[in-house]
Symmetry: none
Subunit: 204 residues, 4 copies
């Protein structure tokens, strides 16, 4: 992150973050050398240090900013959502998928490069991740309370839903058979059928 940020520095700092996302996503944090990063940006490796404190700090900043944006936008989406738990869950699913598909790189990095963070940074991010999981759990709990949902274990169910939804990033390609909207519908369907009160229609 630029330390003070003159007019030119801001542009370079932004370019570094953009290139960082791209290269870490493509090769992994460990395999991205700062020389590669610098040359992608069009500067010398040593010049990076006018904008970042350390390679590790760059990674942390990228992940942290992603998590902050995710949390804020999720709050915004849920704030605008209707009141029934079912509709709030629909909103969460749509927002999660759309956001994750738009920020594929950020998401991938935030998930798979966690272990490249040192202990304190790791703890910070894990806390934010817990907060995000908490938002989904709150929706599920509310649905259970109103009787809309029939869920044996909210936490595990939340984990499973998130794993499934985030898994989309793994195979989604913009030019693929399904539109984003179809993907959202498909997953909404699966999740809701897995959550809504199931007593009425037992499995064979």
């Amino acid at each position: 992150m630029s330390r003070i940020a003159g007019p030119k520095g801001l542009r370079t700092a932004a370019a570094i973050r953009r290139a960082g996302l791209k290269l870490i996503y493509r090769h992994g944090f460990g395999a991205m050398s700062l020389r590669d990063l610098a040359s992608e940006v069009g500067i010398q490796a040593s010049s990076l240090y006018n904008h970042i404190r350390t390679k590790q700090d760059l990674l942390f900043d990228l992940i942290r900013e992603h998590m902050e944006a995710l949390l804020a936008q999720t709050d915004a989406a849920l704030a605008a959502a209707p009141d029934t738990a079912t509709d709030r869950l629909r909103t969460f699913i749509r927002h999660h998928i759309v956001y994750h598909l738009e920020k594929k790189q950020d998401v991938f990095i935030a998930n798979f490069e966690l272990r490249s963070l040192d202990a304190p940074h790791y703890a910070t991010i894990v806390a934010m991740r817990r907060a995000y999981e908490g938002k989904l759990m709150a929706v599920l709990d509310a649905g259970v309370a109103t009787g809309e949902f029939d869920i044996h274990d909210t936490r595990i169910t939340a984990y499973s839903i998130l794993a499934m939804l985030t898994g989309v990033c793994t195979w989604y390609k913009p030019e693929g058979r399904l539109s984003k909207s179809e993907i959202v519908d498909l997953h909404t369907n699966m999740v809701l059928h897995g959550c809504i009160a199931q007593r009425e229609h037992a499995l064979p």
Copy 2:
């Protein structure tokens, strides 16, 4: 795979693979140095080369062997399964979760270190993974054909199911609240409710 297999060599080779799984799982392939690996085994780094051809080959071997075992055991499980698609899906889910929880390290590595493979190795593993996905798709397709399942897109649904089931590895802890069997039931429930013919009970 060990190149030479004297009486002592076999034990060393096995120790290397065991230590490799452990260290790659813990620190990542890129972050595991051959010195670390050797010292975990109790030999010198140079001695590793009596058992592996290169670091890259070790990774490939570990992943390939895991995939081979997974494919073979899945076939075996399905071969012993009843005939209805619903029951075959139940079998697949149970086997997937149980196997994945028992081989957490192998699974993690096979999923997250794919990008550390070079092009030809990568292609080989991806093909095996496609074959595994194919087995689940076959079950789903069969269920659609018999009218047991109502699935809009078999491939996407298969991906989503696998993402969800594999996600268990991320948070499962043996000492956790839920037993393996409960976890299997919970996921079987969710998946089946998401797949079985849904026309009869529309979502609200």
Copy 3:
């Protein structure tokens, strides 16, 4: 030396020299980075270059100014001294110790960082040092000429005396057992006993 001397610049230039002495003394010339120096002064590293031409020049200036002051003050002290060689030697010793204890940092740097100077700067300083040694040798020679001293080799004796006197800087601490004045007396005693005509009292 400051190149440009605006009203504010003089203060900054002085601060740089002061901070330079402190940091070079503490960490050595090679280990003092210009960033450290600048931050001690409270400016940016690039701003240093409004006051110094190069890091090397700063070192040279610091040492040269120290040597100039030492030479000038020694001359002044000896000019005010009585005529006998013994008394002039007493004066030299007192002045050397007092000056060196007051300018510990300068002295240390001038002695131990000589090798950090490039060839021409090195030669200049060595010449000044020779001049200083010459002043002590002149005193000793005079004493030999008058018969006050019995010295086998004036140059070596001068070197040894200087080494001993300057060594005080190594261990002196203001809060130590001995006052400056006691230290001066102690060394005056040792040196004079080593120099005054010794024929009269042979060693056992």
Copy 4:
């Protein structure tokens, strides 16, 4: 230091130490790059690490070994010395000068690169240095006890004597005017006259 020391490794390790002494003496520890050192030895920089753990450790080892040798040889010399304090002081002086002139590089490094050591290493060496000073102080104290010496402050006097004697390294050149033996005599003279009971011949 070689870690295990095969037949070839021992030679390389010794060559590294020799080259290290030479280059640190000539350019200073900070200014000696490991690449320089390696190329002086005739190997690659990375190969150094088969013999040293760290640049800092090399410095420490060189200094420690020097101090150990100095302490041991001083003990040996004093053990063979006659009983009177005067003669023991003579022995100490001769041994100190001869040893220091023969190991000019070691001595210089042990004196001027102390500050390049990190805290624990520094403490270790300073303790050894204190032990060495203690040996001279013991001789002086003994002489005071027998009435041979008249010394106001043994510790300060010891420091001053050591500073003077060690100073010889600064200017001594094998091809110079004075032989080692003459230098020893000259300093023995100066020191003894500074120490022996002085009441009998007050200074003018």
